[in-house]
Amino acid sequence: MIRLFNENRYERDAVSTPPNEGEIVSSLASVANRLPRISNEVQASGADLEARGVHAWFGSRHVLADVNLSFPAGRVTALIGPSGCGKSTFLRTLNRMHEFVPSAAMAGEVLLDGVDIYKQGTDVTKIRLKIGMVFQKPNPFPSMTIGENVLSGLKLAQIKRSNKEDLMEECLTRAGLWNEVKDRLNSHGGSLSGGQQQRLCIARALAVAPEVLLMDEPCSSLDPGSTLRIEETIRQLSQSVIVVIVTHNMQQAARVSDYTGFFLTEGGPGRLIEYAPTREIFSRPKDERTEAYVTGRFG
């Protein structure tokens, strides 16, 4: 925790002496409080996503229990919690990627604009088009050039669109990659560095204009500058898009999200322990376990 703070390069009042726990909480809260909120839930329009009583299993192993969360339009939600508590699994139930694991099973409902995406007869490809995803590990398509990668979603979903060049530039700019690749749009995606590849994947996800964007630790391979650029994009996006971001970086959760959900497993399945506005999670969490986690006193 101490190291985390000393490494933090965006904190204006840098902490020089190791802070005690109370200071850490208030410092996180101050980050959360100071940030301008571009998104405003009242103004925002668009889709709305809700998980109701979601459980998940792998084989007979119950890994996620009874998660109730709603993601109204224009809200950025951060999901935090220790490794293995089911954050990624929960994220994957939200756009029906969970079913890709053969042993997977689930229970509960996920409502997109009031309609259960697991309802029989639902066109799952349309669901995934509306609910985009950025994976933890960069996965640009190796057979495509950088430019083709950005536009690959349009091709995959058979969407016709004019001004593809403009779209490409816009998406790459929002992902903070344009300046680095504008001269080599025709080289292969695999020729980029790990962090560049990840930004390419973010640009690719933006190009199909999803209503919801699920991000699973999207910045874990990025440098601070690119991370800031992505966070800016997330805040911009939040005016029109619901963003759900899994992160292990508490500062990032504080900087970027409106609401934070804390997941924890105590041996059994992972559960949502606390869900509240981000500044409350970091300044006066209601649950002792949340406080222990955000102050680094965990485990």
Binding site: G53, H55, W57, H62, A65, D66, R96, E99, A104, A105, M106, A107, G108, Y118, K119, Q120, G121, D123, V124, T125, K126, A157, Q158, E266, R271, D287, E288, R289, A292
Partner: protein, 353 residues
Amino acid sequence: MAQILPLQIPVPTPKKPWKPAPIAMIPDLLILVGAFLVADATVALTGFKGKLAIFFLFALYSTLGSMALAFFRRGATAMSNAMATSMAYLSIALVALPLFSVLLTVVSRGRHALRLNTFTQDMAATQPDAPFSQGGALHAILGTTVLVILATVISVPIGVLTGLYLTEVKGRAETLIRFLVQAMSGVPSIVAGLFIYAVWITGGHGGFSGFSGAVALSILMLPTVARTAEEVLKLIPNDLREAGVALGGTQWRTVVMVVLPAARSGLITATVLGVARVAGETAPLLLTIFGTTAKHFNPFVGPMSALPLYIFQLLETGLNVAISRAWTGALVLLILVSVLFTLARFVGGRVKS
């Protein structure tokens, strides 16, 4: 410390809501039945004749039907998906039909002469036209087993090492080797036999023997194993090699501990394809193991028999009883090959878990 509360909520039953409910499958079923009936009617009422016409008309109608259903359910973009899916199903039917008809023919013709003594006796003291209760294919079964095992032992290590040369060592001869292996896979099987006959047997290095036959079969098996192994090894992500080397492993240790285990199931496929390539070969064996009617265990001295050769030599007699025995030989060969493949998968799969 946080108090650990066991949360008292009822756990619902796990479900897989993405699996279509049986009731939702009814339209798909109706389309299949309908396509079949309409194909039947088309053949009855028009100039089309025969079962093949029914099959192709059924293929056409069911594809169109499922495309229409997909359009009705999810719109235009789903149509190509439905088309590809139904083509895939029809293709497995096209692959499976001839296969099953071959199997059926072999089983129905081969079962007449199939007795317990097929597996326990040889033909040393039996004429080909003796009653089925006498004589058997034991010598040929032994011969094929020995030959296949020997050929595998010779060509799999060489083939896999060749694959490793092409993917891991990446030596200067890479392109040349790849070209040679490719060219070798085009060698007609009788040429392989002739080569061993000319160089090895008439050259005075050895007579007709199981080993000579196994070497001839290895010539045929090697390119299949090497090429397949190379393709499989190429699919192993480079990250794994880097991770192994970065932990301080030599290239060889990394290959043995990381690369080969990751490629295991593909390498077993390479072996199985190689065995499939040679198990039924007759021509090279004529010139190398010669054939015999008695059990013969030592592959290094003296003529041996093998099932394809046994079939060939019985067919040559032209006698009805002998031809029945030949069909039984074919049936036994199919059984033997299936047993070998199952064994290969079993051994390969078991090491994994």
